[in-house]
Symmetry: C2
Subunit: 222 residues, 2 copies
DNA sequence: TGTACATCAGTGAACGCGCGTTCACTGATGTAC
DNA sequence: TGTACATCAGTGAACGCGCGTTCACTGATGTAC
């Protein structure tokens, strides 16, 4: 058998690559618009325009608008999960007191919820109607909780709670709930409490609930 | 000056009473529909039908649909505030350990969020867009926090926190955020944690954060 | 007491707008012979 | 190499539906003389 001369990998990739790029542009445009003006205000026509594509192209890739949005949020969850795994790797925190680790994690989450607020709010609103999205969120919470627990375990921390694993899960859920509520309702007019203040109190809550030692009175390095 | 013979209070009340009743029916119908099928699915036409009134009658009382919904939520907030004041009266809790008081309050809130879930979710979704509604929520939180603080103070509790008043406010906010998130996202398909379990952990969080003594190992009376 | 008119409250068909979705069409690229 | 045809990807005007809002109209009640 003579091997084929034309390399098989190159059969018809230009077309596929082209449509792949279109899809990528559509998803990016949708994400940007949701972040800027909210899910409710984002129309398919506008997504198409922003993606320098057309309405029909959107419907060639997605069954309907729902499916398109689901894809956007799915990508977001994948990124979030990957970020969580990287951030919560025990190696990253060698030599730092646990209280500081918690403080860093909390302020990182606050920053994330601020920077990606639009998308998160859109997601939260959508997840209130679509159980599938709510399921994504739940799974993400579980992943984060597992990693946090593994991190604490690797550091040899002993939690003051009858069911430590569940306690960590609950604690993660509580913090995420608080951040979500803040993202949803913080009026930009009059911010009730500063971000630093929220961070401080959330850390205090977490440490107190889990029975971890609070930070020394030395200045923290964020 | 001869006093007017016809009592002034009775001038034209029948008409007013009639329209007052219509308005009441409209508000009640709107509330019921929001609770049953969510704000997004509730149309003016359906509200009118349910109230055995007409679309025009709605627009005679309210500038637009927004105003109607705002009225519904305003009433809800008034009820909530009144309930909070009554429930948090120090007299009500004489002779009970603080940990039990907190437990009772938390489980009361959980019950409320379950029973009135539809309305609360609708409100939360709406408040994400309308700063005015978010403001209502904030004010309610402040009221509750003040009453809780007064209650603790009346009981002679000393909180383990540099700014006790702010700590109580934060704690109330945290619990409300958690309940809201739960109401928004709990898939009815697979409840992640039982209500009792959430209650237990929320109490634990609150007590640990505020530095209050946990309950004795005796069975609680709810 | 009777008649004419004014006001209040309400009715619901019709209007209009926004937006998701469809579909007849175009252009580019690939394939057969 | 050239011609005819097939497929892929995309285009955007047109359609249709849902729903908030309006408005010409009805009926009941009150007021003037």
């Amino acid at each position: 058998m003579a091997p084929p001369i034309t390399p098989l990998e190159w059969v018809r990739p230009p077309q596929q690559a082209r449509s792949q790029q279109t899809l990528e542009r559509i998803l990016r445009a949708a994400e940007a618009l949701i972040a800027e003006k909210g899910v409710e205000q984002t129309t398919v026509a506008e997504i198409a325009r922003r993606a320098e594509s057309s309405v029909g192209a959107c419907y060639a890739r997605f069954a309907d608008k729902e499916a398109l949005l689901r894809s956007v949020f799915e990508r977001f969850f994948e990124q979030a999960a990957a970020t969580a795994e990287s951030v919560l790797a025990p190696e990253r925190w060698h030599g730092q007191p646990t209280a500081d680790v918690v403080a860093s994690l909390v302020s990182f989450m606050l920053r994330t919820y601020r920077d990606r607020r639009g998308l998160i709010v859109g997601l939260a609103l959508r997840a209130a109607r679509e159980p599938e999205l709510a399921g994504f969120g739940e799974r993400l919470g579980t992943i984060v909780a597992e990693r946090v627990y593994a991190l604490l375990e690797a550091r040899g921390e002993v939690l003051d709670h009858p069911r430590p694993k569940e306690a960590v899960h609950f604690c993660v859920w509580l913090v995420l709930s608080a951040l979500e509520a803040r993202a949803l309702h913080s009026t930009q007019l009059a911010p009730p409490i500063s971000e630093d203040c929220i961070a401080e109190e959330l850390v205090r809550v977490a440490l107190a609930y889990l029975g971890l030692a609070p930070a020394e009175a030395t200045p923290l390095t964020t």
